[in-house]
Symmetry: C2
Subunit: 145 residues, 2 copies
Amino acid sequence: MYTIGQVSQLFGLPVSTLRYYDKEGLFPDIKRVSGIRQFDEKEIEAIRVIECLKKSGMEIKDIKQFMEWCAQGPQTYVLRRELFLKQKADVEAEIERMNRVLDMLSYKCWYYEEAIREGNEERLQSMQPEDMPERIRQAYENAHR
Amino acid sequence: MYTIGQVSQLFGLPVSTLRYYDKEGLFPDIKRVSGIRQFDEKEIEAIRVIECLKKSGMEIKDIKQFMEWCAQGPQTYVLRRELFLKQKADVEAEIERMNRVLDMLSYKCWYYEEAIREGNEERLQSMQPEDMPERIRQAYENAHR
DNA sequence: TATTGACCTAAAGTTAAGTTTAGGATTTAT
DNA sequence: ATAAATCCTAAACTTAACTTTAGGTCAATA
């Protein structure tokens, strides 16, 4: 239903990336008409899943494994569910880590607001957590443990 | 106060990585005693910041730039604050994307639970969002827009 | 005293995920 | 019918962030 160029537009992915994915086996049974790839609904959903699994930290070769499981039918449902459960746990952990990063960034934003106001870091550098505003102290302590 | 090996233990970072960071200019005025690096509180906090900025998507060369600003004193406070504000916005956006990824993963977990229960994907593949359980429909639609 | 363990440098090697290049074939618009 | 746009492959190249290797110094222990 779509050419590689249309899919490229649709997802904002370079054509070369889509060809690379195909070469790596991520579209195991994509159709071709005189050599030209025909992306249909199956491949479109595959791309959504690829983007999702990539952002969840999976490598291309493992995504390929998943695509092969899909081609193998019902006997791999359990494996596929396990995979998604694991990625879900990984992403939840990653979001937690990102929230800690956010706490560090919030603390640093506050720190430089104060430094700008005061013209130096003297007071800030010798400040103990208990002397910080409550919100900042919590961010600081979360980021520093 | 710490040797490179102790810092390596403390942060779970390979010694080679710490040397690499130093070579890339991330510890601009680390002290040495007869060639051996002395990591003190300043470098320890630098490593926490490096980890934070790296996870927020910054490259080593830009982190180096930040370390140079720190060495330049109060005249770069504003630049440093801008930097942290930008990274904070980036991380907030990233967390939003990760929540969408999580929605896709939740949908897929549900999908395979059902597929396992039913032994095939017939019904699931022809299912419209309005026929999905509410929680799943929302995840599906958030992941597919 | 000799050997072990922790430190050092410089330079080469690795890895993943693309991207670019070179050389064609095919399709679409004029 | 011809020119421009879009498609194709294979292979070389790129980049960031490390990691490994080879060769060496130095301090404490057996």
